[in-house]
């Protein structure tokens, strides 16, 4: 399952959604795709009971715009906040921690964060973030292919 997180109208915040749409065209069948616009609490419903989930979102951690980070989360608590942005009171970091506490969490969660810089209402992606979207699409497509060959993931799918 791949989930794209973001707000379409807030500049770089839409990068997760852009990446998801490109991935959907490229990968097609065999993977579930979800756009998550409604705040991070909806993530818990989406990933509850899933095997491997990849989330792609904008982050702000002070790195150069367009920098891609990959964070893998299992049942262990996060060592530090992911740095994702939210206007809904509950961030992706919160959703991870709450999901873990409630045991409503996938076996493996992989978060791809794209360092974002401009959240102006109505703006599009900045050039460095737009380039990073293409890079992240390649990385996730490769990871999805690897997961498809992973015997543990296949077993979880009942194959």
């Amino acid at each position: 399952m791949v989930i794209g997180l973001g707000n379409e109208d807030r500049g770089d915040d839409r990068c997760g959604l852009e990446a998801l749409r490109k991935l959907k065209k490229r990968i097609g069948k065999g993977v579930q795709f979800h756009e998550c616009l409604a705040g991070a609490t909806s993530l818990i419903d989406l990933w509850d009971g899933a095997d491997v989930v990849i989330v792609v979102d904008a982050v702000q951690s002070g790195k150069a715009p367009g920098t891609i980070v990959r964070i893998e989360v299992g049942s262990e608590p996060l060592s530090s906040p992911i740095g994702t942005t939210s206007t809904h009171g509950i961030s992706l970091t919160d959703a991870v921690s709450i999901g873990q506490s409630l045991k409503r969490f996938p076996r493996k969660l992989v978060i791809y964060g794209i360092e974002a810089t401009d959240f102006t209402l109505g703006a599009g992606l900045t050039p460095s973030v737009a380039r990073a979207v293409d890079d992240v699409v390649n990385k996730i497509a490769n990871e999805v292919a690897r997961i498809a060959e992973d015997p543990q993931a296949s077993a979880a799918r009942g194959e």
Binding site: E8, A38, T87, H88, G89, D94, I98, L102, L121, G122
Partner: protein, 432 residues
Amino acid sequence: MTDRTIAIDYITRVEGEGALHVTIKDKTVKDVELRIFEAPRFFEAFLRGRMYTEAPDITARICGICPVAYQMSSCNAMENALGIKVDGQLRALRRLLYCGEWIESHPLHIYLLQAPDFFALPDAIQLAKVNPEAVTKALQLKKIGNDIMTLLGGREIHPINVRVGGFYRTPTKEELMTLRPRLDTALALAEETVRLTATLKYPKVEHDYEFVALRHPDEYAMLDGEIVSNKGVKIPVTKYEDTFEEYHAPYANALQSVKKAGRTSYFVGPLARYAINRDKLTPRAAKIAKEVGLEPVVLNPYRGMIVRAVETVMAVEDAIRIIEQYKQPEKSFVEPPSKFAGGVGCGISEAPRGILYHRYRIGADGLIQEAKITPPTAQNQKRMEEDLRDLISKSLDMTDAQLTTACENSIRNYDPCISCATHFLKLNITRE
């Protein structure tokens, strides 16, 4: 002589981000400035030159928490300008959609944003650890609200199925009935929430608020109604700007609302609605309010949590009634008149956080010439500052950390949707 400035750079657990700046001088509170930057102002400019039919979809983008409120207020305003009335099952469907938004928004605020204050926990993450049942209930309730919005609105956020005059497509009875079994669960969860919130220990404080809310003759007002206050206001929506006005506070990008007469603050939202419409609560909501001993007019802002829970019961109960009585209408919308000379239209509705006012001037070509949007958080801002000033003046012996927490708790009473009233907001408290 010591001056103290408290700066809270980031207000946690509110919708969006905010900044509060407090200056204390010689044991006296000098300045209390809630700093807000505005998104609706951007949208007001952005709407000019767009077709009137686009306003519901464009304004829904202002907020991810209350898009239905923006759609309903803008539809009301456009329909007022066009001279059309949406009634019967189409109006019932609008109310159902709005119930979905309340059922989604209230539990989020109660459990995930405000409850940690009363369990003395820093946030919902800790609450999920010590009381996973409470957070599970919140997510279950919220999900049912989301599902109503998804079914009627086409998707769970920024619904795309609402249009001026009604809907693009109405659901079948069978589609709506798929929600029915889970609404029984939701009703039980909402009632448990009332009981839980009623057992919490709240700070003992009351203020002589002027409560402003809509009032409708037949129902707990949500979609429309007269604007009524507990201090004598009783006006139609068309007189809103004669009675209330906005002014620009120099320290904020947001406009603050006051009553024109006396330039006094007022309070919109659940406490106001309950004070004005208590006799219109649905039967189970009225019963549980009585069971937990909720006073007829709640003047303690912290106890707004209980009122939110009672309103959630009301919204679930009303959703059940609407679904059970539903008959799919033949036409999904009321046709706009074939000829339109242009004009001005006003609309108002009860967002989860309080009344949301829209006014548009439309040309004969159907293009929007002027838009005005007054969100509930802007209307409450002055009152929020007054509550904070009172709190701080009584709490000068607190450490900065304690005072920061106390101020944040007070601000959360208003469930401020700072992402509606603002763009990005940082909370700063400063003692000099």
